[in-house]
Symmetry: C4
Subunit: 234 residues, 4 copies
């Protein structure tokens, strides 16, 4: 069942190492069918080279495996938490891409320094607070999703205006209306993180991009007035 | 019409990701036919892997699309502004290559530290001033071209002696007598930016290259006395 | 004899340059057959591109070559020392991978800053003390193994909880229950070193990961309670 | 004539971009036939992808082109100066590899921090003094060779114990008994430069490797007592 959904999740997963975002088995992608209340996700710890579309595991919104012989990704509860919180999401991607993870390890948001960043995000890429002993000890991966959702609620951030987060001490998660777009955001996050790190080498106290330029670039690509690309523009 | 021009623009565009200068769809190249007053440019937001020579959009000097079903690059007015300002240009290239963009985000010119840089540029790679609220709100991409032209006029810089610029908070543009050469300059800019960043790590207050060595290398490759390569030398 | 063992050692050796861990001939891998008391190791100074499984040299635990026309790796006594000290090892890998070696040259352990590191190590990746004049002058490669073993004894470190070391001024060694897993650890070490270096650029005094998060990630993948992957989890 | 020599020079030249040491046309290699007093060198400014063995230019020790339709590399007088000064050389390689060039631009020797460096060099990779106005204005490329030779004479450095130099503000040159080995040294120099830059990030005042360890590693690979590899060891 849901061959198309499994194919979509599979394509997203194998795109991650091809874009240089994944070392070893550090990462996973999921795609959701909202009507059926089911998402497809990578099996845990399986080598990307050996992966097939058939290996994708189907999981429902209660976290029950509804199809697939393999264990789903250990990060499945984090994906589920985000998909439940934000109905506008069609897919979630998790990587340990090097430059973005360096910011996450340092507990630092990625500051918005230029138009490349503003093409994808309406501001800094946020970082979560650290997790408590209780959160780590209990349902760790579910609680990881909770601290993400808490961060967005506290900052009144729209998840499609800020389609990524850094989990403190951990690594980035990205999302979008489709999982293919969430992969694109994951590529952008890594590239943005690398450039931010180098701009900080040049100017350790560099101020963020001016707000009017941020808004201009973000709105070139998003919302009613968008005029970038072929489908958005009139 | 203008099959040759579209082919030339196409070859330049697909060379950009091959040289590692482009992530996602961040970049574009244009080639101009001066006699006909028309330039060919990449369509907006189209994936490089799917691009064909036929997809190139033909635009005239008034900014009117004269051939092509797709929307031209959203940066088309910037290309047009530069091609109008500087009749010696045969093509323009725009990338968000990582190291050069790190300098642009920091609002810093790329200082000329060595002979690699001097082989392509008669001095630092300049950076524009920041754009005003009015410039951003109005014809943003055209005004981006204007601040580039203003920077060169203010500095009395010949665009073929300084075939690139960093747009403040944005990224590099390069140009040359042909678009193929503008691609070569874009490769050089990224490589020069990376080396400058590392030299600055070693010596944060490093002085620029001595003027006599700068002139020697620049003139080995440019102008009447050039003796580098096969066609320039006697 | 021992065709399977030579094949295993060969596959591990050629995986090293494929993972970008080896420049030139800087590195080697060995696989051990505990029952026979013999290990297979790369021949010294042979180009990876020219290597065949048949070139692997078989050496016994006294250091005697028991099969193979070529000289074994000059680092053979270091491998032998580790295999003798720790019976739980199935293979040893040595690389000069760039980021890890940068830490080794500086005589610095790789601090544990995030969950990527905690997925493989129960703490910092340790560094040995410097070797004495006597150790360098005498059986240098054997003594290299000795300072590694000394470091683990002094720190009461279990080699499977800390499956790598940085030899001071030199480079990393990794190991595991199989040589294929030791290659995987070598990939992880390089990736962890790169991220640590960047996190230190952002926060020069960054504290290590909180212990509860460290333990959570390490135990997700190791020991009786592990639930990552397909074979570890119930 | 000298088909074998041209083939050898050609193979060395095309190996440079394959090893990631060359951007655009920044670099060249030469191979010498001492008996005939002739060396083969890359033609100037020719794209590596288009290069053939037949394109190699034959030049004698007086600098006269004795075969080949194309202009030899503009750096030919530097190669010639080194080949004349040091009869033990079989080939010379010049690159603008990024990390090594970053040191050259900063006028800094590459400090010897670890055993990777000591496997190839008996100490720091030296840097030349800056060239004078007169040297730059006159026979610039020949004088480039002169400042290299002067640096080695002043430091009493044996060119086979120190098979590379950084030309101040410019880039590295390497050499060896064969041009193939000079390519290998060029790979090592770039890798060593990258690791030194990162070790300096970790420890800005890092001391050089202890002399006994330096000597041990250098002599494992060089001279009468060498025991690394297949041909050197007994």
């Amino acid at each position: 069942m849901l061959e198309e959904l499994k194919r979509e999740a599979y394509e997203a997963n194998v795109a991650l190492p091809r874009h240089g975002l994944i070392n070893l088995t550090f990462g996973n992608a999921s795609a959701v069918d909202r009507a059926k209340g089911i998402f497809a996700i990578k099996p845990s710890g399986v080598d990307y080279a050996a992966l097939t579309a058939d290996d994708m595991v189907l999981v429902d919104f209660d976290g029950k495996r509804v199809e697939g012989k393999l264990n789903p990704s250990s990060d499945t509860p984090t994906h589920r938490r985000l998909l439940l919180a934000w109905p506008q999401l069609g897919g979630v991607v998790h990587t340990h891409s090097s430059h973005a993870t360096a910011f996450a390890q340092a507990g630092r948001a990625i500051p918005i320094f230029g138009t490349t960043h503003a093409d994808y995000f309406a501001g800094d890429i946020p970082v979560t607070r650290k997790m408590t002993l209780q959160e780590i000890a209990a349902a760790y991966e579910w609680e990881t999703g909770n601290v993400i959702v808490e961060r967005f609620a506290a900052g009144k951030l729209d998840p499609l205006d800020f389609p990524a987060v850094l989990v403190n001490r951990h690594a980035p998660f990205t999302w979008a209306a489709t999982v293919a777009k969430a992969v694109e955001v994951a590529v952008a996050v890594e590239c943005i993180a690398q450039m931010a790190l180098m701009s900080l080498q040049l100017e350790p106290t560099l101020a963020p991009i001016e707000d009017e330029l941020l808004q201009k670039h973000f709105k070139r690509k998003h919302g009613a007035g968008a005029y970038y690309g072929q489908t958005l523009a009139g």
